[in-house]
């Protein structure tokens, strides 16, 4: 009995999900309000992302990892650009692990083509305005204010992002837990063009960061030689999008904080003026499922701030876990399948939201704090000396498939251990002594 499944949303998670389900033998139709992204030209705007181990897992499972790697660039280290113009390098892992920069738009185009080839049906320009949860009926119309048409499926999966319409219907149920909260930071995208086609102006295999405490600029390489940059900055306040508006404001701001930019990006003022400021939401909800009929996945179920680079990876891990459950369960028992999916993923959705927010706080509050930097130095030295005893939190989140819940817990435990070591007398002077390394080892093993 082949179930007929609707996936709402043709973003990365929606398409990978559709392909995964198709390969398992289901009929799959993907609905999206937008036109086919393959008909669009992205020059001048290509949102970037960093794919890490959790994301690769499902791509490997459905045999498309190699095709994706072909359009990505591995990043083995952070390149930290100081205000003095120095560049400091921090390898991501001692084992040589990398995260992969890939253009979101290019990846999406590729995935849609692969999924269509595999038999997934795409219905573009088909906005879904509402869903009948009990009956799996989607309602569509060109405009919301027009007469709606009903489309029935056996199962509806909402992969329609942080502003999900499927979730909006679920939110109207009694006892639906929901919260959305925004950072005081927004972001604006900027592009560094290629020196020549395929030739990068900065080292391509690094994740470039210009940290400036209350705001920062990052840059990720594209295969065409360009870099996609993101400027994170408060909406309001002293140094903010509100206060930096004129050509002169922009010129002064970059000259002061990012003096390399005018050379890397000669049209930076025009780009800054042209590109919009976007906001950063954390969204949590529960439940993610409705009986055997409806489920949420990816950003529709858990939207996180981007400071751990895990938003997409968490969504792809949802797909992986769902596919593992499907391997195990009787495929007729969708109520059990969805319950198990929710049970396994909801705590991890909460955990990655917390980890992402923590990382934002760390970056914005602590990076200039000497005690914090000392902690990080001790952790780092200990981890390289005793790699079996200390996997740094970043590595556990990015380069392991331990659950996010386990990563969050171990991160807290490591924090407690570090609290103890930081109370040692004269820790500032003897932090890199063997005595301290041994003490930390004792604490961990006790």
């Amino acid at each position: 009995m082949s179930r007929d499944i609707a996936v709402v949303g043709s973003g990365l998670v929606g398409v990978v999900l559709a392909l995964t389900l198709k390969k398992k033998g289901y009929q799959v139709v993907v609905y999206d309000k937008s036109c086919d992204i393959r008909t669009l030209d992205f020059r001048g705007r290509s949102i970037n992302l960093a794919l890490s181990d959790r994301g690769w897992r499902i791509l490997d499972k459905i045999d498309i990892a190699d095709q994706v790697r072909a359009i990505g660039i591995p990043m083995y280290q952070r390149a930290i650009h100081t205000i003095e113009g120095e560049v400091k390098h921090q390898p991501y892992s001692i084992k040589g692990d990398a995260i992969w920069a890939i253009s979101r738009g290019d990846l999406n185009k590729h995935l849609i083509a692969i999924a269509e080839e595999a038999g997934v049906i795409f219905k573009f320009e088909t906005p879904i305005w509402d869903v009948d949860l009990d009956n799996g009926i989607l309602y569509t119309a060109k405009e919301e204010a027009m007469q709606w048409k009903a489309i029935k499926h056996d199962l509806v999966i909402g992969a329609d992002g942080a502003y999900s319409r499927i979730r909006a219907r679920m939110q109207k149920q009694s006892r639906f837990e929901y919260q959305q909260s925004y950072l005081h930071l927004g972001y604006k995208e900027l592009v560094i063009d290629a020196a020549e086609v395929g030739e990068h102006k900065l080292a391509p295999n690094s994740f470039h960061i210009w940290p400036r405490k209350d705001f920062m600029l990052i840059a990720l390489a594209n295969v065409d030689g360009s870099f996609t940059c993101t400027l994170f900055m408060p909406f309001e306040g002293d140094v903010s999008f509100d206060n930096i508006k004129t050509d002169e404001d922009i010129r002064v701001f970059f000259a002061k904080y990012f003096p390399e930019v005018p050379q890397l990006m000669p049209d930076y003022i025009a780009q800054y003026l042209r590109n919009p400021v976007n906001s950063l939401v954390t969204m949590k909800c529960f439940p993610w499922i409705y009986k055997s009929k409806v489920a949420l996945i990816g950003d529709a179920a858990h939207a996180v701030v981007p400071f751990y680079g895990q938003g997409l990876n968490a969504g792809l891990e949802d797909v992986f876990v769902l596919s593992e459950i499907l391997d195990e369960y009787d495929e007729a028992k969708w109520d059990e399948i969805l319950s198990r999916y929710q049970e396994m993923r909801k705590p991890n959705g909460d955990a990655i939201a917390e980890l992402s927010y923590q990382n934002f706080r760390e970056m914005s509050e602590h990076t200039a704090d000497d005690t914090f930097l000392l902690r990080k130095k001790i952790e780092s030295k200990f981890a390289s000396q005793y790699p079996d005893l200390w996997l740094p939190l970043y590595d556990r989140v990015t380069f392991s498939t331990d659950t996010y819940v386990a990563a969050l817990e171990m991160g807290k435990q490591q924090g407690l251990w570090m609290d103890i070591i930081m109370r040692e007398d004269n820790i500032k002077d003897k932090w890199d002594s063997q005595e301290i390394m041994e003490k930390l080892k004792e604490i961990i093993q006790s």
Copy 2:
């Protein structure tokens, strides 16, 4: 220039708001998806409420308080029914203040009639599905899936309750803060019929409570001699709506915990089986306004759990504050008027949500706790001895017009003072000594 105002929702807050605005000379149209409540007969289901000082303030201001009092019953005290069948009385205030039990349905009918008489236009059976925030355009249709019709007003006020459609549109804006959260308790309404017409089976001027720690029953008198009761109980767990389902379950449950009920309410089993279980939500959001075009009020802006009896009173206080601002400001400057309204009310909406939730925790966690009861006894003795130094939190919330923010803060301060006094040696033995009273006085005055 008379502004043309739409009020969405014909509940109590919506109608009082409409009448207030009409009396100020505005054109006011009220929209509601339901039929005219005056065409309905309520026998068998009449949700009750307790009106207190904040609510009366706006009714006084628009000269309808006497008409409302005529259909209400003042309650001067709590009547606490113990499991042993005793009744303990606690006056609400030493000054003889009362809260008023009024049938929600009857009050709503009266208010609509008064508002209509004053020239407010009511459009019943006119569901509003969406709003264009920038242009103040409402969209209506018989069913959401049908072609919508646009209706334009100068200003739209959403008084459409905890599940507000106006707010749903605002929630889709970037940087809109939102959270909804449910208690593990639900509630079910039950009715004690009149002994004979107009004759009550219990003392009518008391608020009756049967507290049983994890669940409780309350009863408020109606003018026709009946009582509206509410049973609060967990959805799931040991003693819960999930576990009490059959005739026999219900019989055993009431016999054990509320042995008076079968006599007061001979058809209690039928009522229990027939009436639905409702949920209890706390909802917070921000902003409450959109430029000079849209505002939220009452439960649409701040839904709270009912354990302080302040939900409606908070909504009516919103109307009072808005009307005071209108008295003060140039009526053309609606952006300033709405900003001022939000600035004054949002912190108080948060404060009453916190107070209401605190009271729920107190009732469910502490009422059987000896230390907690001792604290309450000391506070109560001190308040009666030094009424100028100690207005109990309940009185400040219920019988004063101090802001909820001030009440919450003073409640915390009083808590800190009590923490100090509770650390006195042998406090259990000498709690009602003059020594303790003087110590507390010293602490407060220091």
